[in-house]
């Protein structure tokens, strides 16, 4: 359909809720509900994890200058800090990715742009999460 025709000299803008072949099907899942809830719950946990992380890394015991290979190796010898970092990595990445997914949904104008931006986001998220997890679990303090 062309943008203008004789009966419609104004630009023809498809009515947003008109049912067409491209209209998304109703999903009938609880995905958005769980997503919304996840943002709230992970947010609360992240406040503790991230602020604790920043406090330990940047403030206590001589601040940022103490951080080195030995410092990281020492921390990751303990399963507690492994778990802390692992949970923080997963929650922060999923929280941030879901937030960006929302931003893309809200701001991307064209379907194509939206799709590719989200693909880029998902790829980056999966890559970072997997790489981080791999490092936390296979970290070798004796590496040369």
């Amino acid at each position: 359909m062309s943008l203008y025709d004789v009966d419609n000299p104004a630009p023809v803008i498809e009515a947003p809720r008109k049912r067409t072949g491209k209209t998304p099907k109703t999903t009938r899942t609880n995905f958005e509900l769980y997503g919304w809830l996840f943002m709230r719950l992970s947010g609360i946990v992240l406040v503790v994890l991230v602020l604790g992380h920043l406090l330990i890394q940047l403030m206590l015991d001589g601040g940022v200058s103490k951080i080195g290979f030995a410092f990281v190796a020492g921390r990751w010898a303990s399963p507690f800090w492994q778990a802390w970092d692992l949970i923080m990595l997963w929650l922060a990445m999923l929280h941030g990715a879901n937030g960006l997914r929302t931003v893309i949904n809200d701001y991307a104008q064209r379907d194509n742009t939206r799709f590719w931006l989200k693909m880029l986001l998902y790829t980056a998220t999966v890559f970072t999460v997997l790489l981080g997890t791999l490092v936390i679990f296979t970290f070798d303090p004796n590496i040369r």
Partner: protein, 257 residues
């Protein structure tokens, strides 16, 4: 006729009459769009004499009747009930028939444009169909099972109070067309549809609350709300729209867990 109250009253009336003639010159800057003339919308200024106690709608009438008959806008009751004349006045969604000139700083030009997010047909008239489609989608009617009772369906005052706020909606679209999510993606149901779903979801007599919640649980349902409160600010009826949306979200969560 010499009772003190009456005299005071007439004194007040005199005062009102004295100020009644204090017309001021107001500039209306109106976003004009006529697809038969140009595909571009343009701003046009109109100067008119108005009493500051008059409404924006009176100004629009004066322009249409005395200056430019082609100015196109919707209005029906002109008293804030029918919801026809929602428009963007000085950048905020309001009803032209409830906005007094003195309340919006008449010293500067008053900008009037069509509400956003819906296709403009001409001047201040937009295509309301997508808005009403979203409204229809949430089944805005009483759904009950079984035989009709022989008298009215009773309800306690508390049960009525539960959804009192959302019964006030006049479907003017001021809220939906102030919502940034709706501007960008018209598939979002929009605040007005959710308000009208809320009105039945929390009605103790209604039995289709589950269905409506299921509809609003959809990808384009309540979860797209970003709680920017634009809708609450825009509502000419003072409905706490964002609160109603949050209550629907809470109902969805508590239903699930």
């Amino acid at each position: 006729m010499s009772s003190p109250t009456l005299e005071k009253h007439s004194a007040a009336l005199d005062a009102a009459e004295n100020t009644a003639s204090e017309n001021i010159t107001v500039t209306f800057r109106i976003r004009r769009f006529n697809p038969e003339v140009s595909e571009e919308a343009t701003w046009q200024d109109f100067q008119l004499e108005l009493d500051p106690k008059e409404r924006v709608l009176d100004g629009l009438h004066k322009i249409k009747w005395d200056q430019d008959g082609t100015l196109t806008f919707r209005r029906s009751c002109a008293h804030g009930i029918c919801g026809s004349d929602a428009m963007r006045i000085n950048g905020k969604n309001r009803l032209a028939c409830k906005t007094l000139i003195k309340d919006i700083n008449p010293e500067k030009p008053i900008t009037v444009e069509a509400i956003k997010g819906l296709t403009v047909l001409k001047d201040l008239v937009v295509d309301m169909e997508p808005f009403f489609q979203a409204y229809r989608d949430v089944m805005p009617f009483l759904v009950t099972k079984g035989n009709e009772p022989t008298r009215e369906r009773r309800q306690s005052a508390e049960d009525r109070e539960r959804f009192d706020d959302t019964t006030k909606c006049i479907l003017c679209a001021a809220c939906t067309s102030s919502c940034p999510v709706f501007w960008n993606d018209g598939q979002y149901f929009g605040p007005a549809a959710i308000v009208n779903a809320h009105r039945f979801i929390f009605d103790s007599r209604d039995e289709a609350g589950e269905q409506r919640l299921e509809i609003l649980n959809d990808k384009d349902g309540v979860w797209r709300c970003r709680t920017t409160f634009n809708c609450t600010d825009a509502c000419p009826r003072g409905i706490e729209v964002t609160k109603a949306i949050q209550e629907v979200k809470r109902a969805l969560i508590t239903r699930r867990f």
